[in-house]
């Protein structure tokens, strides 16, 4: 255990140093970078990825993966619009129903994975297609606009000078840190990732824990959908396409092993910030949006390579 902790500390230390170096380099490159306004705006932009990255940390610590989060986001975004505009429900009711739908989608993932023993990769790849297909079918490629002004407070407003969705993100992150570090549930999560069969034989609630984690992943993806819709004031069926890549990159970059068993929410947060300032710095120095996805892909590979090397190092 101490060796594992040492590696984690080292990984996070490396990350923190990288983060500081990146800050300095980017600040030297552009005087628009290191300003409160820019940093707060970047924090606003990373909230959707960040929210989903919290339950994804749990998912990956169990040795699983959830590829369907982007599709759940798209489906829930569409449902808010449909419930509100087409079904004529009040917007708060539409939001609650959409959150319920996302939770149900996550629960369905959990049932397929735990009850039917389908590997998470394949189960969520199938539901990635299914949920996105439902979003496309329901929306028929029509977008929904014209949300009331109060709804924009969540995605575009501020509270005490800080973007409102950051408060929500902070709340979810703190809950995540607390559960993973200080509860039986958190310890069960690590146990599953280290050795699922052993965890089962020690009488831990393996199935229930996994079911809850995938359900939470669906719920938080729906939450991210609400934030997203509020931020951009429209709903489209392709929302969140490919967001799973950014989420997984943030988690893995943050030191969570893709093979399960180790990782921390704090690491995910650092990984997330590093990724966001990298994207921001690149776009400030003239690289277009699509160019930054190339960098994210490369960063993901490098992050896994480093984590592989570190874990081999600690085994010696």
């Amino acid at each position: 255990m101490t060796a594992v902790t040492r590696v984690l500390v080292r990984h996070e230390a490396i990350l923190a140093i990288l983060f500081v170096v990146a800050l300095f380099v980017l600040a030297a490159q552009s005087d628009r970078f290191l300003t409160t306004a820019n940093l707060l705006n970047q924090a606003r932009l990373m909230t959707e990825v960040g929210l989903i990255a919290i339950p994804m940390t749990f998912v990956i610590v169990t040795g699983g993966i959830d590829l369907s989060v982007g599709s759940i986001l798209g489906l829930c975004a569409i449902l808010v619009g449909v419930f509100w505009q087409n079904a004529g429900l009040p917007l708060p009711a539409a939001i609650v129903l959409s959150l319920l739908a996302g939770t149900l989608a996550g629960f369905a993932n959990g049932v397929i994975i735990t009850r039917f023993r389908v590997p998470p990769l394949i189960a969520t790849l199938a539901t990635l297609a299914l949920y996105r297909g439902l979003a496309e079918g329901i929306s028929q490629a029509r977008s929904v606009r014209g949300y009331p002004a109060w709804f924009a407070t969540l995605g575009q407003g501020e509270l005490l000078g800080i973007p409102s969705q950051l408060w929500l993100f902070a709340l979810v992150a703190i809950v995540g840190i607390f559960i993973l570090r200080f509860t039986t549930f958190g310890r069960t999560t690590y146990a599953i990732g280290n050795n699922e069969a052993a965890a089962e034989f020690s009488g831990l609630a393996v199935e229930r824990t996994k079911l809850l984690i995938y359900t939470a992943s669906g719920f938080v993806s729906a939450l991210a959908a609400i934030v997203f819709v509020s931020r951009v004031s429209t709903t489209r069926s392709d929302m969140g396409t490919g967001i799973e890549l950014e989420v997984i990159t943030a988690v893995v970059l943050g030191g969570t092993s893709i093979f399960g068993g180790r990782g921390m929410v704090v690491g995910t947060l650092i990984g997330l910030c590093l990724m966001q300032i990298l994207q921001n710095g690149l776009s400030l120095s003239g690289v277009r949006g699509d160019g930054t996805t190339v960098v994210i892909g490369a960063v993901l590979i490098v992050a896994v390579l480093i984590s592989n090397v570190l874990s081999r190092f600690s085994n010696d």
């Binding site: 590829l67 039917f116 189960a123 199938a126 299914l130 996105r132 190339v294 892909g297 490369a298």
Partner: protein, 316 residues
């Protein structure tokens, strides 16, 4: 030996089932709308989708070896653009046809090495490749379509014995791959690596070398698919078809390739690709919005995976 026989029968069952479903679909949709069975429509179903069937052959090899590739759609997009650029910039047409095969094999050899030697899980390596290739493609082309292709470049519009060339490619490559998988040592090593990596290692099969070869072949087959894709119209769309990798993976899995590796044939994946093409066309003839197509695919892949898991549990 008996288990091998029952496996063969099991996958053959899947193939017979697919043939029955395809025939039933043609009969039902044809009786609702006779134009569905017109030669024009049947030709367009096969010609427009043969490249998916071809790519699914390589994907089947990858999945049988116990891996996955979500970057194949992006790879096809990139290789198609490279082929088109070679053709429009005055290079000989044979080079424009051949380059995608070689480049596809080279790129995927690299991916295979990441997976086999650097121990990056295939889902992570190919997810990263997906973002690198698709981001790079859009950055490079700016989304502009390639037009002004030279005469004689449109390979997919050629006919032999009044049958369009994509159909010949589909049939020929399916048979070649089936022979390769069934009668060569390489084919058996792919099954061995996928069904029991430890046993394969113990019997002297190099796990890493087999995986790299599988990815190289998959890349070359992807190159053929890219040429068929690029040469079917007078222009080449320089964006990656959204969700193409999912269609290809679905074709493999519905075709009877077990998601857990080790089992499956390439005949099944070709039949499944034909089935999807027919379903997509049926939706139009049945006046169902094409926006539901992806949802239908999602349901199909989920149902097949659940059936596969149930069958595995029954047989132990």
């Amino acid at each position: 030996m008996r288990s091998r026989l029952s496996h063969t029968l099991g996958t053959l069952g899947q193939e017979i089932l697919l043939v029955v479903v395809i025939l039933a679909l043609f009969a039902v949709v044809g009786s609702v709308n006779a134009r569905f069975l017109s030669q024009h429509n049947l030709t367009s179903i096969f010609v427009g989708n043969a490249y998916i069937a071809v790519a699914a052959i390589g994907m089947s090899l990858v999945i049988i070896s116990g891996n996955i590739d979500v970057s194949i759609g992006a790879l096809i997009g990139v290789l198609a653009v490279i082929s088109g650029l070679l053709a429009t910039n005055g290079y000989p047409i044979w080079l424009a046809w051949l380059a995608p095969l070689v480049l596809g094999a080279l790129i995927n050899t690299l991916v295979g090495c990441l997976i086999a030697y650097a121990k990056v899980p295939s889902i992570i390596a190919t997810l990263a490749m997906l973002s690198i290739l698709s981001g790079g493609l859009i950055t490079f082309t700016g989304g502009r379509w390639i037009s002004g292709l030279p005469a004689g470049y449109q390979l997919a519009q050629f006919r032999l014995l009044d049958v369009p060339s994509p159909v010949w490619f589909m049939i020929g490559m399916t048979i070649l791959a089936a022979l390769l998988m069934r009668y060569t040592a390489f084919g058996r090593s792919v099954y061995a690596v996928g069904s029991n990596a430890e046993a394969a290692r113990a019997s002297g099969i190099s796990h890493a070398a087999t995986v790299v070869k599988v990815f190289a072949i998959h890349g070359a087959i992807g190159g053929v698919a890219a040429v068929l894709f690029a040469t079917q119209l007078q222009v080449i769309q320089s964006t990656v078809p959204v969700g193409l990798e999912l269609v290809i993976i679905t074709a493999s899995v519905v075709g009877g390739v077990s998601i857990l590796g080790g089992v499956g044939t390439v005949f099944g994946s070709t039949l499944a690709a034909i089935l999807f093409a027919a379903i997509g066309s049926s939706l139009i003839f049945l006046n169902v919005s094409a926006y539901w197509l992806r949802a239908v695919q999602g349901v199909l892949i989920l149902a097949t995976v659940l059936a596969d898991m149930a069958r595995r549990r029954r047989t132990g």
